[in-house]
């Protein structure tokens, strides 16, 4: 990891936004030599925050979703997902409401600010090691 490296992206907040943002973040993480399994987990967590944002942020109003990723130090990566809309955890159908649970299971720390829009701030430990899964399973990374 290269301390100070950062990635900022903004896309119209529609259902097609998460994929290209994940691809760009994936390339950024690969350039930083983040291990593939950790990279995949980070993309899942950020993808859930993006999905939540594009589904609920603006209703039918146009708006943007932004990502701000930066390397804090040799092992910690910070990623914010921001929008100008309201925050609603998805729960409409079976399986919804799982997004934030997944984010919390993967990220080392999560903070959600909902003043003037929504900012989901996530911190990820990128150091390869054996981690405990959500139910105590040992997940090889």
């Amino acid at each position: 990891m290269i301390p100070g490296a950062e990635l900022r992206l903004s896309r119209p907040a529609d259902a097609g936004a998460p994929r290209p943002i994940r691809h760009a973040l994936g390339a950024f993480l690969a350039a930083l030599d983040v291990a593939p399994v950790i990279r995949a987990d980070i993309l899942v967590a950020v993808g859930e925050a993006l999905a939540n944002s594009v589904e609920h942020a603006y209703g039918h109003e146009p708006g943007a979703v932004e990502i701000y990723a930066r390397v804090r130090d040799e092992r910690m990566l910070l990623v914010d997902v921001l929008d100008g809309g309201r925050f609603i955890e998805r729960e409409a159908t079976p399986g919804r409401g799982l997004g934030l649970r997944i984010v919390h299971a993967i990220a080392s720390a999560v903070q959600i600010d909902t003043v003037g829009g929504t900012r989901v701030s996530m911190a990820f430990d990128t150091a390869p090691r054996r981690r405990s899964g959500p139910r105590g399973q040992s997940l090889a990374t």
Binding site: A15, R19, A51, G95, R96, G99, A105, G133, R135
Partner: protein
């Protein structure tokens, strides 16, 4: 009298997120048969909670009709996603097609 119940196979491929929700929902439909159901995720390269939600709905539909259902995965990533979602036991998950078919050949839902 008995007859062989035919296997219903649904195969999903590629990167599946909220942008493909309608396509995933359309693909996860039961046929008119009464055989077991195999969902082949072996070529899925990314899946999120949108996919889990649709799979839960599909599982409920299948089990309501007394049909056994199994998921076939190609990498550990989807199994980890289920763990992160707190649903490690929600599906019978296999990384081996033969093992999945053996499970589906068993009795009961």
């Amino acid at each position: 009298m008995s007859r062989q119940s035919s296997l219903c196979v649904v195969k999903l491929v590629g990167e599946l997120d909220i942008g493909q929700r309608d396509e995933v929902a359309a693909a996860l439909r039961l046929d008119d048969g009464d055989g077991p159901v195999l969902v082949d995720l072996g070529e899925v390269t990314y899946a999120d909670s949108t996919v889990i939600g649709e799979l839960l709905r599909f599982r409920n539909d299948a089990e309501a009709r007394g049909r056994r259902i199994a998921l076939l995965i190609g990498s550990p990533q989807f199994a980890r996603l289920l763990q992160y979602a707190g649903l490690p036991e929600a599906f019978a998950v296999f990384d081996n097609r033969a093992a999945a078919l053996t499970f589906l050949a068993g009795a009961g839902p």
